[in-house]
Amino acid sequence: MNLTVNGIEHTVESHGLRPLLHVLREELGITSPKAGCQQGGCGTCTVLVDGEPRRSCLLPLAAVDGAAITTVEGIGTPDHLGPVQAAFHEHYGSQCGYCTPGFLLATHALIARSPKAGREEIEEALAGHVCRCTGYVKIVEAVEAAVGGAS
């Protein structure tokens, strides 16, 4: 099977029922999607599948054969943060960082589909993402800044 991850094509050997999360982490060594609850409830394994946010712990590899996957490494680099990453950095939208990849990708996808998203739409887009540091106020401020910067 084939996956394009952050623009790079990979042939993968994992079993077709293996969750995309573990294929990314263990076969391809891309560890930014985290194995949190592994039940779809915490959000930190979120990746973009053909641009749409999805829980990689709930997706069997065979269901995404041929898809384009984006992780946080695909929306910016340490030297050149993407606009969403820059907004989180500037507004202290990350504490321990475990949930951050999911929040960043959910926000990236939100801005792509709704460049002028208001508070309600932001809250809906982030609803499935849990921050155990409970830094939600700063996270939402960062997302509002990212949305404002994009529009």
Binding site: H15, G16, L17, R18, P19, Q38, Q39, G40, G41, C42, G43, T46, E52, P53, R54, R55, C57, L58, L59, P60, A62, A63, A106, E124, A125, A127, G128, H129, V130
Partner: protein, 252 residues
């Protein structure tokens, strides 16, 4: 998880899916994966054959000849603007990403366990008088959702679509959720009234949704304690939610 001896089938059409499913023995159906993948990860499910439906062409909503037909592979997120009370139930399932993965077919086949409420669309579809079309042993069959649910909701059946009359109705919905990362539905009541006939159903009173008697909503129910609420609490709550769903009946 030891998956090496599990064969994965990926049918490219509904006919191929029906042929691959056969009589369903030994087959685990994976539609959106939101229920099956955690079961696999926890080692509670050891399939012989996994039938992945994502490419079987079972997704889509069609309005034709006076019927609304919703393919089993349609994601719950496609129902955000569906007919009421179906849309009311759909908007509160999981979260944005989960709704985009979870399917209508999976939802009607699911049953709540003591710690995981499931099947929120069932009550709304019961209120709409939906039928379920499925295939399996003995071939294709269409039956009312209430019978499908009472008969074990999909054991040995592959759901193809659900459908209901495309007709004007008044619709109402009332629910109480327990806040979590998801809104876990403690209890929800869906109502639809058409030509003076009221259909009332609830989710959260049994493993699968049931039709209610509007005059005596608690009749015939055996409410149980679970991780979300006690039977006592649900006994108090159900009549109130019925009142609210009926009070907010509006043209759908």
């Amino acid at each position: 998880m030891g998956l090496n001896d599990v064969s994965v089938l990926i049918p490219a059409s509904a006919d191929e899916a029906a042929a691959a499913f056969g009589d369903g023995s030994g087959v685990t159906v994976v539609a959106g994966g939101t229920i099956v993948l955690p079961e696999l990860a926890a080692g509670r499910l050891r399939p012989k054959t996994a039938l992945l439906l994502g490419r079987a062409g079972l997704a889509g909503i069609e309005r034709k000849d006076g019927r609304v037909t919703i393919g089993a592979g349609t994601p719950v997120s496609a129902l955000h603007d569906a007919d009421r009370p179906l849309a009311d139930a759909a908007r509160h399932v999981g979260d944005l990403e989960v709704r985009a993965q979870a399917t209508v077919g999976g939802n009607v086949c699911s049953a709540s366990s003591d710690d995981a409420p499931r099947g929120d669309l069932q009550a709304a579809l019961l209120a709409l008088g939906a039928d379920v079309r499925s295939t399996g042993k003995g071939g294709e069959a269409t039956e009312p959702l209430e019978r499908f649910l009472a008969d074990g909701a999909g054991a040995g059946r592959l759901v193809l679509d659900v459908s209901y009359d495309d007709a004007p109705r008044q619709a109402g919905y009332a629910a109480v959720w327990r806040p979590h990362s998801h809104h876990y539905t403690i209890l929800a009541v869906a109502a639809a009234k058409r030509d003076g006939e009221l259909r009332l159903a609830a989710t959260g009173v049994a493993p699968r949704a049931v039709l209610l008697d509007a005059g005596d909503p608690l009749r015939g129910l055996e409410l149980r304690d679970d991780a979300l609420a006690s039977a006592w609490y649900r006994t108090q709550l159900l009549p109130r939610l019925v009142e609210r769903a009926l009070a907010n009946l509006q043209e759908a």
